[in-house]
Subunit: 92 residues, 2 copies
DNA sequence: TAGAAATATCGAAACATTTGAATGTTTGAA
DNA sequence: TTCAAACATTCAAATGTTTCGATATTTCTA
């Protein structure tokens, strides 16, 4: 991961609504989240939620999957790992 | 680390100048960086550099230490570790 | 195929961040 | 004790982000 990518992911992680979305994955047995579910816990208008999910997808933190009219998201574990590796390298 | 703290650190990490500052620590034998050194590799006016360093200190990523007229910074390894722990917890 | 549900896009308002010129403060050196 | 060096603060311009109403698109269902 280069520093430009790291910057983009950091930006995606620097908003409370987007952090709340990512944290939802922890609380779920299955590791997928539906767009509709996000409306249930985020008190934001639909275009705002769409915007935040797009930021996370553009940063490769979420992988979108169409299911008819619905959108399902998977957490991209490997990008998280790469991001953590970049951080660890800062320490050495 | 709570999510508010995580958000603040992510914001501090989401700027190319600040990432460049943090990356400088890697390239140094000793693990401290002087404010003056930052002027040498960042093409920014002095107040901008002061602003970026303040962001990193406010996020607890850097620990400032006065040395006469100069300012020395240490990388806060334990905050980086806590930040990484928060990220790892997202994966589970 | 008409209508409704789920999501995306556009455009504008509100707000936050970045940047640097001007200026202030602190401290070491002459 | 003056002067210069190092850093901080203030303020304003430029730019970027967040938010939502309005509207468009896609797809399911009756």
């Amino acid at each position: 991961m280069d520093s430009k990518k790291f910057e983009k992911i950091s930006k995606a992680l620097s908003d409370s609504s987007r952090i709340a979305i990512l944290e939802k994955f922890k609380k779920k047995k299955d590791d997928c989240l539906y767009c509709t579910e996000v409306h249930d816990f985020l008190d934001l208008a639909q275009p705002s939620i769409s915007h935040h999910l797009k930021q996370l997808v553009d940063a490769d933190l979420l992988i979108p999957e169409k299911e008819g009219r619905n959108l399902k998201y998977l957490l991209n574990q490997s990008v998280l790992d790469d991001y953590i590796k970049f951080l660890s390298a800062l320490k050495s």
